[in-house]
Symmetry: C2
Subunit: 183 residues, 2 copies
DNA sequence: GTTCACATGTAACAGGTTACATGATTGG
DNA sequence: CCAATCATGTAACCTGTTACATGTGAAC
């Protein structure tokens, strides 16, 4: 997903400032499947304005920089919908966590435990965020997307809890004994 | 995950050519949480060789370009393990599929169905690939990582099957009627 | 006979990240 | 008083993608 389509897509739902778009994408109800940053959003919004895909109104904001509120134009809406009809690329999942797990047996087991716990913490935080977003949200498409995130988060948490012993050297010994006993 | 660490990490398990590293990362048992490409791997391997983190032996290969087989050096192993002990970044998940779902009610329902089916097909293919990788694999760390992928794939498939009606306009009508009846 | 797998690599380009720069207000 | 939130933006940099370039042998 490029930043262009992302901006158009979010503005489809509501007029917003760049700051708010970033917040929604980075912390809001879309954060589990979108990546972005200010450095990408602000220049994109300027380009989009030049091209007439979004329009801009400004609101004074004492002390703080003027709020620049963007709205999708008709051309913008058309561009969004033709982008939406292009063959979606396959989902991308990248996990340094899993990469580390690959080497768990060559790493200090205390460290591995820390990594596992940290991952669980992150997943639980994500789950909570999604849960409250789900309750606040009325829009079906968004509910579907949030629910998808919830399902994946739960699956990951359950998996880690029920399989973390595989990465544990002490249980490995027990495991081996059990395997021997079974033979 | 940068390509550097990826190459070191894969070479930790086995000596390999760049071609094979790419295959493993793109189609093999690591493909569900790693992204890469030839254009990234070949230059990285050259740099790594210069820096002495990997060593290189060449094997003639009639007609085809000489096979360049890389192996991790001691320095390389050290570098890998210190990278492994840096705080892992949060997992990244990007989904154009979910982005499209957000707009399902403004899109042609036949198209939405096609997108859903395509996503299911991809997930099922991924699941099969992971399943056969799991059977072939003896290494516990890898099994954990593959199992994680299996769990997430299954969760996604189940979720889509049980919630796709939310994106369906015809069921929406039914749904609305039910809601009215409840009022 | 054509496509796929093997096998390496380059180069232009796109895209995004990070850090920097600025500054008021609010809450703890 | 310090940190966080609001609010915008730039610029250097890094990283990786895409397409191109080349060529054999096997399978269908």
């Amino acid at each position: 997903m490029n930043t262009r389509t992302l901006c158009l897509g979010i503005l489809f739902f509501e007029d917003m400032t760049g700051y708010e778009i970033n917040k929604l994408a980075a912390e809001g109800r879309f954060n589990h499947f979108i990546e972005t940053s200010y450095g990408a959003i602000y220049p994109t919004l300027n380009k989009l304005t030049e091209e007439g895909l979004v329009s801009l109104r400004q609101e004074a904001n004492d002390g703080k920089p003027t709020r620049k509120i963007y709205a999708l134009t008709e051309t913008g809406r058309d561009t969004l919908f033709s982008a939406l009809q292009e063959e979606p690329k396959a989902d991308i999942f990248k996990s340094e966590f899993l990469f580390i797990c690959l080497y768990s047996h060559y790493l200090n087991s205390g460290y591995v435990n820390t990594v596992l716990n940290k991952q669980l913490t992150r997943l639980n935080e994500g789950l909570n965020r999604l849960g409250s977003a789900f309750e606040k949200c009325e829009h079906k498409g968004s509910k579907f997307a949030i629910g998808y995130g919830v399902a994946l988060h739960r699956a990951a948490i359950n998996y880690i809890n029920s399989h973390r012993h595989l990465l544990d050297d002490e249980n490995e010994a027990l495991h081996d004994n059990a395997a021997e006993a079974a033979e």
